[in-house]
Amino acid sequence: MGHFAHSLLGLALFLAPLCAQAQDSVVLEGTVAPACTLTGEGFVGLPDTISRTVNLSNPQSLPNITLNLHVTCTQNFVIGFTPQYARLENVDITPGALQPAIVGDAYLHQGAPVSGFAGGLKYTLNAVLGGVTLPSGGGGPSYTSPSFGPGVGFFTSPLPPMSAPLTITFNPVELAPSMNLLAGSYQENITIQLTPQGI
């Protein structure tokens, strides 16, 4: 018996017991890594930051800002929004000289609120995912800062896996005609968090 024929015989002897169990011994496997991604408007990676500038030259007539994003999650997930200041806050003001967001936006001069001027600008955040407005923790279709901050985020209940557009609209709350914005730079940072929850 030549070497080739001997090898065939060995292979046949090895396969023989396996063939007897062929129906449950062939296993096909694969995995899909659980992941949530947010794309659009310049988001390119995780984590990432995009910036938008609000024109504050006329605080009595402020434009809205709309972001057209896309969410893909391969598992159930929770989406949350966490603001740093819960308002557009004048970051040039000496610490302690601006009312806390939950109280108001008045500038404090020698401890007393100054009338006619504001150092913060509230806004309403409205999020629509897959054509459905995300309910806020307060029960409304949108939420107005500072009801969800600062530093305190709003998170949805678990949502099913999906790949869907996410539209976020910021509506700055316009100042009353008698009010003015204090000079300075205004900032807000909103973190959008996508947290997989399993299947």
Partner: protein, 180 residues
Amino acid sequence: MRKLLALAAATAALGLAAPASAETINLSGSVSQVCALTPGTTNVNFGNLGAQGVENPISINYNLYCNVNFDSTFSSANGRLLNTNAPIALVGPETGAGAHAYDGSTTFFAALDYVITPSIGGPVSSASFGAGATTNLGSNPPTTLSVSLEFDTVELTGGQQLTAGSYSDTITIGITPTGL
């Protein structure tokens, strides 16, 4: 084989604990610093003062706007309405004996006090000004304010009379932004 399948399943289960992903939206804007007192220059012309400085009060309106804290100052060039045709050396001092007198005269005068009455606060006499001195009015919070100032002369009494000539003073109000 069953152990291998169990191990594979356990490995997949561990993969479910994926970290949350976070993206940040930064919103920003700015408001320019503005501090203005308008109008910038105003002339108050009393016209003919007559022999004793009798005239009708004149009011002017100002708008003050400053969107940061600011320091304010006040100064008067002459500390009074001064006859600019008279040599300054011949005009008596602003206050005290011989005040405003022309060349030591007890009848003729070459200067005249006036009073400013703002719509907010009480009247202020030029007798309290020091010519050329700058008075610090202190630190102020951001302000938007409309104010009127009424100017009135302090008329001479008895036989006192003004010397002929042009009388003037220049008041300067300074506003210096100091931030927030």
